[in-house]
Amino acid sequence: MKNLLEFLHKYHHWFLFVFLEALSIVLLFQFNSYQGSVWFSTANAIAGRVCEWDAAVESFFTMAHNNEVLTQRNFYLERQLAQLRRLYQEATQKTDPKELQELEKISQYKLIPAKVVTSELHKKNNLMTINSGLAEGVEPGMGVACGQGVVGVTFLCSDHYTVVIPVLNAASSRISCKIRNRGYFGVLRWYGQESGYAYVEDIPRHARFKRGEWVETNGYSSIFPAGVLVGKIVEVYNSRDGLSYRLKIQLSTDFGTLRDVVVISDKSIAERMRLMQAARDSLKLNVHE
């Protein structure tokens, strides 16, 4: 007994070492599946606050440029709206019913504004933190977009901060999208390296399209509404198995200067998700019987 105690006392730092290493390894391997780990990420209130100060200082210096981009975009949209309205009036000779319908469609989405407090570009699996959380109505699995296009999907939420999986995450980001005005579906993926380019996989072989056409979300992903801009096609390849096309696209969102984003919260999406879940559960039940 005395020998045992002596042994324990003499080598206690080795036990401490093994314990701390074990703790680290558990954290390392559980982070991606373990939702409670919000305390060990930048969604943690203290780290989030400190990062927010830092981002505030940075955003002050890039404000002028951001303003410029937003104004340009605004001007462009305004012009497009006017043009479309005029065309529509010419074509139908009336203004009211359909326009009202469109407005209603947009108002069903609740947009929650947020600021980016940390973001990464150079890793393989980048993450991003924004300063809205459960208290503002953000929940895991909601779409995040900015004035220029699609950004990512929310992943972990605390009361006031949220970790977002941006498009630039090779392991976890899969957003379904389509080619504008053509309707062919694909999946948006990213494989590391250049932060300005991503790939769209699984475009069918019979699809007809040209380089320079736009890719946007298709609205079937139950996360984004249809028509959020993704990027422009710059290159077309064959997929590895030769059964589909793979498109290289230039992302319309500039992740390097991203500051202001909106989280898209849609009541009908929640309803659809519930329905899907119910369907899945009932299928599982049938299998077990």
Binding site: L20, S24, I25, V26, L28, F40, S41, C51, H122, T129
Partner: protein, 167 residues
């Protein structure tokens, strides 16, 4: 609360802030990131309690991890370096040295100090990037990150040591 403890707290906070907001965002040539906080662990003097070194290193690693969203990564690597540091430093201590000799360029001389610091930084960077990628599929990328980060980190540490000697 000894003076030594307070001194280490101040150093600790300084290293965390520097890493989270300045150094952690530098990616020279896309690969080389300075991991200066490993310097904190190499500073513990002779006969410092081993459990103390381990606990400091683990805490440092964990907080760095929180800022980079990689829980456990820096903590695991830094704790490993902390386990080696007391034994490794003992190899370089001159026979007639004081009980609480600190590892520094001034105390050990350029040759011994280089051996000491290069080995510890190399061990740290190897562990860190191996755990981060957790596969050798991208061998070149891994090698570039390890070598790049070792060089940048060492350059910073040597600069600090030379500055310290002049003061």
């Amino acid at each position: 609360m000894s003076i030594d403890f307070l001194k280490r707290v101040v150093l600790f906070v300084a290293f965390v802030l520097a890493q989270a907001f300045v150094l952690g965002r530098i990616h020279l040539f896309h690969y080389a990131t300075p991991l200066l906080y490993v310097y904190f662990v190499t500073l513990f003097p002779r006969n410092y309690p081993k459990r103390g070194v381990l606990t400091w290193a683990f805490a440092m690693g964990l907080i760095i991890d929180i800022f980079t969203n990689t829980p456990g990564l820096a903590a695991a690597s830094l704790t490993a370096v902390a386990a080696i540091q007391p034994y490794f430093f003992a190899l370089f201590v001159p026979r007639d040295a004081v009980e609480t000799l600190e590892p520094s360029l001034l105390n050990l001389g350029p040759t011994k100090y280089s051996y000491y610091i290069v080995t510890l930084v190399t061990i740290y960077c190897l562990l860190f990037f191996t755990l981060e990628m957790f596969s050798f599929d991208h061998l070149l990328e891994w090698l570039m990150s390890v070598v790049g980060s070792i060089l940048v980190t060492l350059a910073l540490i040597i600069t600090f040591e030379i500055a310290k000697r002049k003061v």
